[in-house]
């Protein structure tokens, strides 16, 4: 199963794209301040529509918060 932000997520199917996953999560993909890592590698924004998630992928979806 694919893990999103530390939690296994059955809704995100292997073979789906990063973009599809973000839509499923309700993340505004046009908004600045969002970044995605898969298996500890950055997935650049232009690759979101084509980057395919493998089974057991560990995905981090990050956004801007106050801090520092």
């Amino acid at each position: 199963m694919i893990a999103v932000n530390g939690t296994p997520n059955a809704l995100v199917q292997p073979g789906s794209t990063v973009r599809a996953m973000l839509d499923l999560l309700g993340v505004d993909t046009d908004a600045r301040g969002v970044a995605v890592a898969v298996d500890a590698e950055v997935v650049p924004r232009p690759e979101w529509p084509s980057f395919v998630l493998a089974d057991e992928a560990r995905v981090e979806v990050l956004t801007a918060v106050q801090g520092g």
Partner: protein, 265 residues
Amino acid sequence: MEPMTQTATDPLVIGSRSYRSRLLLGTGGFGRLEALTEAIGASGTQLVTVALRRVDAAQRGSLVDVLDAAGVELLPNTAGCFTARDAVLTAKLAREAFSTDLIKLEVIGDERTLLPDAVELVAAAEELVAAGFTVLPYTTDDPVLARRLEDSGCAAIMPLGSPIGSGMGILNPYNIGLIVEQATVPVVLDAGVGTTSDAALAMELGCDAVLCASAISRAQDPVAMALAIRAGVEGGRLAYGAGRIPRRRYAEASTPDAGLPDFGS
């Protein structure tokens, strides 16, 4: 008058960027985004920190939109990272998220004091400089470590006055002075400021700027404290340029002895 004017108006230059304000604001600790906006206005800052965390569906309001509307530039941080590997990955994600090469590099070595891990910090700085980042490392007040960071290509050095959020001010002004003396890149006093006098002291010691978060965001009146610390930064900068008198052990009369009347005994 010219030196004073020059010191008061010369810009803070970090890499290829130039700022009128010498106060950097941390955005942590503000309860409402409206309070953050008001403090940004009062502080006069042009550069504010942001962090990256996992998306939260319940999150209300866009921080980036608010900061864009305030007209400030973003300085993403790597807060919460304990290894060079995590800090480098976080910096790369921040570059993606915010379209900036600026990074406030934090690699923490101790949970209780949040003091930096010098070894991991230098390793991360070298890797990020090589990857084209403009690196601003949060570091201890160790002048040797500061030199190592500068040698590795960092665009500024950001030594702590005292631990993050402690409000203890500048515990080792001597070391901060040494760092300023040797640095050829800007020195930004980062962490430890509790109130105006701490910020003023940093600037009097020759720091080029002050980064302040908790002292403003957690003050009872953040807007008033933003104004106060801004005044401290500006006053301290002026005093640094003005050239203070040397300290002396005994008094030196400011009124001449010549012409002193004799009233008898």
